[in-house]
Amino acid sequence: MKYPLISSRLAARLTILPFVVIALTIFVGCVLWSVQLSFTSSKLLPNSDFVGLDQYIRLFNTTRWIVSLKNMVIFGVLFTSGSLILGFLLAVFIDQKVRAESFFRTVFLYPHALSFVVTGLAWQWFLNPALGLQEMVRVAGWESFTFDWLVNRDFAIYTVVFAAIWQASGLVMALMLAGLRGVDPEIWKATKIDGVPTWRVYLHVIIPILGPVIFTSVILLSLSVVKGYDIVVAMTGGGPGIATEVPAKFVLDHLLQRANIGLAMAGATVMLLTVIAALAPWLYVKHVKKGANG
């Protein structure tokens, strides 16, 4: 296909140019620079002492990193699907012409606004067996009631998932709501004529239409999966032990507290490779499809 540069096209290109420059310098240039650091012995400050794959070898010999990766998968799957489903349901229910829509919307969104340092603490208290729910139920008379996931190595990650869903699903709701509001009302009419139960309309008609919105939500949620660590810090600090460590926290700890940029960047690079591996097939498909459309 030919792309001559004429007026509006030129304007489009000129406008996008600065962003391309930003993308190239920041998201490519700076990233490559950072990746390069993962092959050095950089500590607190970047240096150029090349050590080959040493950092990677150490990385994958570190229990904490392995546990982190495992947690990221568990967390990623549960959190992403949980937030998507809850967010979608909230959007759907709010979209039923309810009264006090603003109230509900704000309630579902507010966790997004409050610093997790404090709301995480509230969750921590609530889930702490000695302070929160378990204690309350016991005081209320059910002496043997036990809910100690937060302090249980095998379950603590689920409490993090829980709180993370609580925090993120409001945003998904907002995105979905925007998508739902964009659906042509005529489509709804057609489904009513076809005699389709509402839930199936959502399932078969609306969700496909919301495809791009869902994609956006998935990316947003994956971002929290990959980059998120404040939730972990606030709720468990990675504990008990290293049971709820996540890769982002590993990277940041080594970057900020442990002054080992090299290792941190090795971790970050591995995470980026994972992301690329996840994105590449999608981009490829997009590209092939595009090519097919001329």
Binding site: R105, A113, A122
Partner: protein
């Protein structure tokens, strides 16, 4: 069956239309139960902020405050020490606003324009550009800060207000581009075509035709960016310089002390106070979530 009728007609008195049908009750029940789940931590935050420290130390976290005590709120807002200054979180309020408004504007506009170009003005490498941008979203920004500082310093932007606006724009770019691109891909492309035939150029189409159709996604963008920019303090600290320190620095100083004594009530109040701006935005964003954004535009 949930009522999804799109009618704008005013129901006459005669209509006994399903005001309290079973479905309605179920809907409200669901929403209320979810609200309770969502509000639980807020309850803890609020009641804790209304207790005194001894009561917090002694009592049950879920229990009602023995005496209502708003001292923590006053303190959080105007007297808590956040370093040498003891003026609470209020100090940085205007700085935050000063950062928020231009950053919000520039970052959303940038994202919207990138999304617009990616949806309608395909250029060679557009997919790659989008891929890079998307991938950029996943980079922990701490990993980028060193080289960015160097670049910013070279251009004299380091430690300035434009500098911090640019930083927010850069870090907001991936998400903003993503949401606008995906949103525009759902709009009927005929409208874009019609505008071009009508003689609208690159910006004409965007500002006159697409932007007015973008309200729901704009508000999502606003929600995301208001929250992100308002809650940031690290980028502000590093790139914004001392004159432009946002209110969250104060919040962080109150909440985040490692070894100092913790005043949970003040922490909670301060957090809540700091979040007021995003919360207000959330609350009043509703009327922009309009229905049927492209209704009547095309046939087919």
């Amino acid at each position: 069956m949930m009522t999804m009728t799109q009618s704008t007609s005013t129901p006459s008195l005669k209509k006994p239309r399903t005001i309290i049908s079973k479905e309605r009750i179920a809907i409200y029940l669901f929403l209320i139960i979810c609200s309770l789940f969502f509000l639980l931590p807020l309850y803890i935050v609020l009641i804790t902020s209304l207790k005194t420290m001894p009561e917090i130390r002694m009592g049950n976290i879920m229990s009602w405050p023995e005496t209502w005590n708003t001292d923590a709120w006053v303190k959080a807002w105007s007297t808590a020490c956040t370093g040498l200054q003891c003026e609470g979180v209020s100090v940085g309020f205007w700085n935050s606003i000063k950062i928020l408004i231009p950053s919000l504007f520039v970052s959303i506009l940038s994202g919207a324009i990138c999304g617009y170009v990616l949806s309608y003005w395909r250029f060679k490498g557009a997919e790659l550009f989008f891929g890079i941008i998307l991938f950029g979203a996943f980079i922990p920004y701490q990993a980028l800060i060193y080289p960015m500082i160097k670049i910013f310093a070279t251009f004299g932007l380091y430690g300035t207000l434009p500098g911090i606006i640019l930083v927010h724009t850069i870090f907001g770019l991936p998400i903003m581009t993503l949401i606008f691109r995906n949103y525009y891909s759902t709009l009927p492309s005929e409208i874009f075509k019609a505008a071009r035939v009508d003689g609208a150029g690159f910006f004409g189409v965007f500002f006159h035709v697409l932007l007015p159709m973008s309200t729901p996604i704009l508000i999502v963008a606003v929600i995301l960016q208001v929250t992100g920019i308002w809650n940031d303090f690290l980028l502000g600290l590093i790139f914004g310089g001392r004159e432009n320190m946002p209110m969250t620095v104060q919040l962080n100083n109150i909440v985040n002390t490692a070894r100092g004594a913790k005043e949970y009530n003040v922490n909670m109040a301060a957090t809540f106070l700091t979040a007021m701006v995003p919360l207000l935005v959330y609350f009043f964003s509703g009327r922009w979530f309009v229905r049927g954004i492209a209704a009547g535009a095309v046939k087919g």
